[in-house]
Amino acid sequence: MKAFKYLSPTTVEEAIAFHGRHSETAKYIGGGTDVIVKVKEGWMEPDYLISLKKIEEMSELHKNDATGELSIGAMVTHATLEKSLMIRNEYPIIYDAVSNIGSLQVRNVGTIGGNLINAVPSADGAIPLIALDGVALLHGPDGERSVEVKDLFIAPYKTVLKPREILKKITIPPQEPHTGSAYIKFGRRAAMELPLIGIGVLLTLDDDDTCAKARICLGVAAPTPMRAFDAENFLVGKKIDENILIEAGKIAADESKVRDSIRGKAWHRKEMIRVHVRRMGLKCLNMIKDNY
């Protein structure tokens, strides 16, 4: 493993400045559960690791009661999200995803921001944030800009972030009433498992029980986390029942771009999308019913 210097700026501006000084050879680090693995394996050889841990605002998890907007600092750990009752009750899809990441040790240090910026197709944290219409707030040398989480990813390990840009936080717009959401990681093991396929569903119903909004988001179904727009469009405006969800599952499976890999076969992944869109959809309906 190559030696590196570890810098701990306390503001975003300072971090960007550090990065500017060492440009090519510097790398941001959150919890380091992806970065340090790569450094140790020699896939990445930075001279400087710029930690974002000491930037206090980036570790804030906060819901604005007046506006209903949720703000998740990029440095919020999976464990913090998992333990938050507010998250568990109001954003069950986030809880479902983060509480099954890696192991307790990994969740204690791994951050939601790192999960997004690492940008693997299997990122568990990305799916719920896309389903919730999350918006990423980026801060670079030229100031701030916003990008929807669904548009953050370009390819495996590649995001729209410009050099030196920092993901500061993710905001989630207020949730409509009669909304349910759920995520499942389908894998072989109960822990330390990347999903063979990840399925997140969010449904909002109108007062007359027709579907006002649907989000069907898939991990490992394409080179980047994806939304199954056809399936979503199919649901909107319909009265949702199990048969409709079965149909939506089929459509989502069809529009996915799953592949064969050593981890799993495409046909099985498709099946799992089909089955779990229905299961997660039903879970959403039950949540909505329970909360009436």
Binding site: S103, F186, R188, R189, A190, A191, M192, L194, I262, R263, G264, K265, H268, E271, M272, V275
Partner: protein, 764 residues
């Protein structure tokens, strides 16, 4: 109802007690010294370069840049390896290959340098020109006439080790059978996943004697291998000392000597410095040996009453590119094939076939898990065809004390029926299950009283007592985490009336400890235990002789207990053992109490006819699983697991349960998740992300009822239990899945994909 494991062996003071592993604190506190911790003055670090191809000619090697790299002390290629330095069962494997490589794990060069990083960099500077050859990766295809040859000088890829056995008359028995079933089962590569990776440190003294610290389960046999290596290097009549540090797991993986050990020796000799080679995790996956994959064809039948009439099995084993002990696993497979349940007519044919895959070795169960998967799956299929309840079917055919099986195994103590009953009772086999839930059972037989594979199946022990009542025992046996240290201490303490903590067990150093064939075949408790017991008995006799004179009573009247030597009928005649030892020692013509004992069980080598009682006794068991199958995903959840074993006697129920729990979890991985994925000879999942070892969260609750049959030959009646825990796990799960959803998976591991595909096929 079987006794609770807490109520066993109440007649003893130390035997049967749940004494925690003697080195537990050392390990828990990070004080135990593993190979990784060993640092010697001037030590260099070795690294190995592996082949880029599964099958290729080496056209040219240029090491000049590596040699010139600052910090590099030596670079070796196949040219530097003495001609006679070869490893493995039939010595077909030089530690560094020359001319040709026949698997990705073939070593092509090695470097010693002042740091592991420099050694690694230097490997990158070695330039090799290969000429790629067509590879062969399917053992059944490798048997075909025009298949590419893995070893050109051999005319065929089939090893010249035919396993061809016929007891009774299988053809006749088949004709007379009321019911016959026939199937094909397959198993794939799995690996031991030792938490401590492999490694060795070799050094020569000024007189060219070798000391090697190495992760081994066979100090004495490794000693022999390294003596031969020195001889090949022209160092005849030199000494070898093998020291095994604490190891993080064996499971059979360390039953042979490996290239990294021989390379460390060559580098240390060349550099005149200690050389250390330690594997990283990727290397551990890629360059250590797996359990052998098998293709099994099984046919068996029974009469109309459900009595087994014959069993006919044929197997093809993937040997990989070189031959290690994996090629001898048919000898152990033969045991369940010929002797799990009463069956008079047995045929078995096995072929080991060279391929350009990784080569296999010993792994917990030594072939038994593969064979039992086929046998016990087929037992259920046959029971169903005959219309007999699967538990009843097993009962009808159970082994019994006094049986001699067609192979010539003499069944002495046998608790198979009690094991089956315990499983039935715990899992409520008669109860109705909800949809998607099912139960399965599978039994096992395994060697429990040594296994005579070499000329000797023996183990030596030397015991000395100090002046205070403490014991040092030097045993040939090797503790590798399984608990031989406790077993030895508890047996000696019981015999001498001491506490386990009074016994210091010294093992795994060939300069100090007597010979032993190795920690394999579930033999250590039985064989090393008997060796320790024999030495303890001799010392006890000496104590009694001395006390007899002191107390003026006959020897037989003297007892040892609670650190006292005493005459039960005469309260006056009592003395602490320490005091007695001092009285014996500090006097004119004094003596210290010591003894040695070499125990070699009275078991038999299987001769050319492959017949003979290879073990003094056999361990039995039955496993039962309750599973829930998600019929939409194919995922199997294990709800309950029962693993009942006849162990003779539990010397230490705590460690025994540990062996069973560990074995079962290993077996569950074998059944459901574990697989070294190899594509055209290349390992695709050399990491714990993609090699699906069970995690703590996946582990299931296991009940481990112990059946005690007090074996007449075992130390305090004990039999071996190291391996059985993982033997019948896969068929128990496969049978439970069938019971749950009606699909029979014949290929391990039983992945959700396979289950779902089978369900789809069944449901149309």
């Amino acid at each position: 109802m079987s006794k609770s494991n807490n109520e066993l062996s109440s007649e003893f003071s130390v035997v049967g007690k749940r004494i925690p592993k003697l080195d537990a604190a050392q390990k828990a506190m990070g004080r135990a010294e593993y190979i990784q911790d060993i640092k010697l003055p001037g030590m260099l670090f070795g690294k190995i370069l592996y082949s880029k191809y599964a099958h290729a000619n080496i056209v040219k090697i240029d090491t000049s840049k590596a040699v010139a790299f600052p910090g590099v002390h030596a670079v070796l290629t196949g040219e530097d390896v003495p001609k006679k330095m070869k490893m493995g069962l039939i010595k077909d494997n030089p530690p560094i290959k020359k001319g040709k490589v026949c698997s990705f794990r073939d070593e092509v060069a090695a470097v010693a340098a002042i740091s592991p990083e420099i050694a690694k960099k230097a490997l990158g500077l070695i330039e090799i020109e290969y000429e790629e050859l067509e590879g062969i990766f399917d053992p059944e295809k490798a048997m075909e006439k025009n298949s590419p040859l893995v070893h050109d000088h051999l005319k065929s890829n089939v090893l010249k080790m035919p396993w061809n056995i016929h007891y009774g008359d299988v053809e006749k028995a088949e004709k007379e059978s009321a019911f016959v079933v026939e199937d094909r089962f397959t198993t794939t590569w799995v690996t031991h996943c030792c938490m401590g990776t492999s490694g060795a440190v070799a050094l020569f003294d000024a007189s060219e004697n070798l000391t090697i610290y190495t992760n081994t389960q066979i100090p004495s046999l490794a000693h022999k291998d390294f003596l031969e290596a020195l001889k090949a290097m022209g160092l005849e009549n030199k000494r070898v000392r093998v020291i095994k540090p604490v190891i993080g797991g064996g499971f059979g993986s360390k039953l042979d000597t490996y290239a990294y050990e021989h390379i460390a020796i060559l580098l240390a000799y060349k550099c005149h410095k200690p050389v250390k080679i330690v594997f990283d995790r990727v290397e551990e996956f890629k360059a250590t040996s797996t359990r052998q994959p098998t293709v099994t064809y099984i046919k068996q039948g029974c009469d109309k009453n459900g009595k087994l009439t014959f069993r006919n099995m044929r197997m093809v084993l993937d040997n990989g590119g070189h031959t290690s002990w994996g090629a001898t696993t048919p000898s152990v497979m033969l045991m369940p094939i010929s002797s799990l349940y009463r069956v008079e007519n047995v045929k078995y044919n096995a072929k080991c076939v060279y391929t350009n895959n990784t080569y296999s070795q010993a792994m917990r169960g030594y072939g038994n898990p593969q064979a039992t998967f086929a046998i016990e799956s087929s037992m259920d299929i046959l029971a169903e065809k005959a219309g007999i309840d699967r538990i009843e079917f097993r009962r009808i055919n159970k082994n019994r004390s006094g049986d001699e099986t067609p192979q010539g195994l003499k069944i002495t103590s046998c608790g198979l029926e009690e094991c089956i009953d315990a499983v039935k009772e715990e899992l409520k086999f008669d109860g109705k299950n909800e949809k998607g839930v099912g139960t399965g059972i599978a039994s096992l037989i395994h060697v429990g009283g040594g296994a005579r594979i070499y000329g000797s199946d023996g183990c030596g022990a030397i015991l000395k007592m100090d002046d205070y009542g403490k014991v040092d025992i030097f045993t040939g046996g090797t503790d590798m985490g399984q608990g031989l240290d406790n077993i030895t201490a508890q047996i000696v303490a019981e015999e001498l009336g001491l506490l386990a903590e009074d016994i210091n067990v010294v093992h795994s150093d060939t300069d100090i400890c007597p010979w032993d064939v190795g920690a394999h075949a579930s033999r250590s408790t039985f064989v090393a235990g008997n060796a320790a017991l024999g030495a303890a008995k001799k010392v006890k006799k000496k104590i009694q002789d001395f006390a007899s004179k002191l107390f003026d009573v006959p020897c037989e009247k003297i007892e040892l207990k609670d650190k006292l030597v005493f005459v039960p009928e005469d309260k006056e005649k009592s003395m602490t053992i320490g005091k007695l030892l001092r009285k014996a020692h500090f006097r004119p013509g004094g003596t210290m109490l010591m003894a040695e004992h070499f125990y070699d069980p009275d078991n038999q080598n299987m001769g050319k006819e492959l017949k003979g009682n290879m073990s003094m006794t056999y361990s039995f068991g039955a496993h039962g699983a309750k599973v829930k199958v998600d019929e939409e995903t194919g995922k199997v959840e294990v709800l309950e697991y029962v693993a009942a074993h006849d162990v003779g006697r539990a010397i230490n129920p705590l460690l025994l349960e540990g062996q069973v729990y560990g074995g079962v979890v290993m077996g569950l991985g074998y059944a459901l998740t574990e697989e070294v994925t190899i594509k055209d000879g290349k390992i695709m999942n050399a990491n714990f992300r993609d090699y699906k070892l069970f995690t703590a969260k996946d582990a299931v609750k296991i009940k481990a009822p112990v059946i005690e049959t007090i074996d007449k030959d075992g130390p305090f009646g004990a039999k071996g239990i190291g391996e059985p825990g993982c033997v019948p796990t896969a068929p128990a799960i496969a049978n439970a899945i069938y019971d749950a959803v009606g699909v029979r998976i014949k290929d391990l591991p039983i992945t959700p994909e396979k289950v779902l595909a089978a369900l789809k096929e069944k449901n149309g």
